[in-house]
């Protein structure tokens, strides 16, 4: 009996620690700035949606959201196509210099180096190409990060699929690429989905490169746009919390929907 009680209490405690900060964010977003700073209420006494309306009418969050969706969609889609093909080539073919065996180490090395290390040269590259503050600059950057991740994940998925199936298809008259497209790719669909989900999450949340590479609502993404609300002397808590809710809600909802696939990506394959 006492173990059950201890178990229940621990569960409630953990839930509270995780959820209370989230509750406070949502609760603050429903208060007026007056209620937030002067009355210090524990929950919204006069709930209002004004903060949300203001984000879209006065603060261009419509643009940020559009930019985020466009940039995330294209960088993940391109990386999935390029990454799946690259991973397949490594998983199935012999390449010169035994490259197929070394790609794993190469990708691991790229993944270990903190992204901030290449921030300056990427900035200089986009500056020289005239791609600062544009969708294209962000899409190129995110696609590159996503490709390394996609190849890393997809290679192991392809290796698990027996070669015999492709051979059979080729005996029946498929070309090599046709066998890949019609046989292997559909079989790897669950793996492809898991990879895509994780790539979407990371790309939508990315802030550092968006901070350095964008400067106006023309290309700023959600996290980047949210950060513009911060840093003035008078912090606009109401707008900031509403922006936090809008930025977090879709991604949390999306993640909970697909949580089964998330763990493998989050741990870079350390847990299957």
């Amino acid at each position: 009996m006492s173990t059950r009680l201890a178990r229940a209490l621990t569960t409630i405690f953990v839930l509270a620690v995780v959820l209370l900060p989230i509750f406070w964010l949502v609760s603050t977003s429903l208060k007026s700035n007056r209620e937030i700073t002067q009355e210090g209420t524990l929950y919204p006494h006069v709930p209002t949606l004004d903060n949300y309306v203001r984000l879209f009418t006065e603060k261009q969050f419509g643009s940020y959201l559009t930019n985020s969706l466009v940039v995330t969609f294209f960088s993940v889609a391109i990386a999935l196509v390029a990454g799946a093909m690259g991973a397949y080539a490594i998983a199935r073919f012999r390449l010169p210099l035994a490259m197929e065996g070394k790609v794993g180490l190469f990708l691991l090395t790229l993944r270990i180096i903190p992204p901030v290390v290449i921030l300056i040269p990427v900035y200089l590259l986009m500056l020289s190409l005239g791609l600062l503050d544009s969708w294209l600059g962000l899409i190129a950057t995110y696609t590159a990060f996503n490709v390394t991740f996609c190849v890393w994940m997809m290679e192991s998925f392809f290796r698990e699929i027996p070669v015999d199936l492709e051979e059979a298809a080729m005996v029946d008259g498929d070309s090599r690429f046709g066998a890949f497209r019609r046989i292997t790719l559909p079989l790897a669909a669950p793996g492809l989905a898991a990879t895509a989900i994780f790539a979407v999450l990371v790309t939508f949340n990315e802030f550092l490169f968006a901070l350095a590479l964008t400067a106006t609502p023309r290309a700023m993404t959600m996290p980047r746009g949210t950060a513009t609300l911060i840093g003035r002397i008078d912090t606009d808590w109401a707008s900031m919390s509403a922006a936090g809710v809008i930025g977090a809600l879709p991604i949390v909802f999306f993640a909970l929907l697909v949580q089964r696939h998330l763990v493998r990506g989050l741990t870079m394959g350390a847990v299957k």
Binding site: R4, R7, T10, T11, V14, L15, V18, P21, W24, L25, T28, G40, V81, A82, G83, M85, Y88, A89, R92, F93, L95, L110, I112, I113, P114, P115, V116, V117, I118, L119, I120, P121, V122, L125, A140, A144, V151, M170, V171, S175, R176, F177, F204, F207, M222, T226, I230, T235, W237, M240, G244, G247, A248, I251, V252, A255, L256, T267, A270, V271
Partner: protein
């Protein structure tokens, strides 16, 4: 008959366009990675050997940028803050994550809810996590202040005080990333063999003995992988600090990434900042690969 077999073999090996297929399939991904990741790495190395004025190169200075790092008090301080931050955060996350994983090993009511809710902190946008914690810590609008006032106390100062701000940052990181430790360690616990534990139960071993003699030794490799993974990521922490404290007050929470960013984009010392980041990249790589080598040796023995 012979001809058909020959034709089949020919088909499988591929002919014409098929011979070039591996390269055609590799080309798009390789081009993007070489262009946007590998070339910048090389370019960063090159920039690190140059002096810059107002963002443009004005001459080669060899390794002077690297030498200068080690007499730069602000760099050394940010390195120290980063090491402290990583060591404290990752230790707390490992201990809490392990405890929580042990707790969740047995099926019970509410475990599914717990596991689902624990996904939230690590998928919320890091910028939003930082906003959440600003809303907790703020001395005027914060949750801590509101709670303190509800109980008759005064405003709570977190982000204005160097020690409190640093602790506040560690708490944020622990809140955000303990769930990841928990998930990895839980998966590790669930994959342990059952026999040794049953034997121990037959022998009447107590819970602590089972943990110290069986669970912990068997979990050591998984624990090590989880710690290495988190340490690498924690070294690159940027978003949360940028939004929560921007490195302040003073230099109390100025991690190496923030200092490098400011050096490049605020003070326009591009070459010096590049040298700083190359150094950090090398340090993290060296740490990671010596950890991997160590793990392999433990695995082999």
């Amino acid at each position: 008959m012979h001809g058909a077999a020959q034709a089949r073999k020919y088909r499988l090996q591929g002919a014409g366009l098929d011979l070039a297929l591996p390269y055609l399939m590799l080309a798009p991904g390789l081009t993007i990675v070489l262009g946007v990741l590998v070339y910048p790495l090389w370019d960063g190395l090159r920039a690190s050997t140059k002096a810059y004025r107002y963002g443009s190169p004005v001459g080669d200075i060899g390794l002077q940028n690297y030498v200068r790092l080690w007499s730069d008090v602000q760099f050394l301080n940010s390195l120290w803050v980063t090491v402290k931050f990583v060591a404290l955060s990752v230790s707390f996350e490992a201990v809490l994550g392990f405890a929580l994983a042990l707790f969740c090993l047995r099926e019970f009511q509410g475990i599914r809810l717990l596991r689902t809710v624990l996904i939230i902190p690590m998928v919320v946008t890091p910028v939003v996590v930082a906003i959440v914690f600003r809303l907790i810590y703020a001395s005027d609008a914060g949750m801590l202040t509101a709670l303190s006032q509800a109980m008759g106390g005064g405003a709570v100062q977190i982000l204005g005080n160097p020690v409190n701000a640093f602790v506040g940052l560690v708490v944020l990181d622990v809140w955000e990333w303990t769930p990841l430790m928990f998930l990895i360690l839980l998966a590790g616990l669930q994959s342990l063999p059952h026999e040794p534990f049953e034997a121990a139960r037959v022998d009447g071993a107590g819970a602590w003995r089972v943990f110290a003699d069986l669970t912990f030794p068997m979990m050591r490799p998984v624990l090590a992988v989880a710690i290495v993974l988190r340490t690498i990521d924690a070294f690159g922490t940027f978003d949360q600090v940028f939004v929560l404290t921007r490195g302040g007050p003073g230099e109390a929470t100025r991690l190496i990434s923030i200092y490098g960013y400011d050096t490049a984009f605020k003070f326009q010392q591009t070459g010096y900042a590049a040298a700083l980041f190359v150094t950090i990249g090398l340090v993290v790589l060296a740490l990671a690969f010596s950890a991997i080598r160590l793990l392999r040796r433990v695995d082999a023995s």
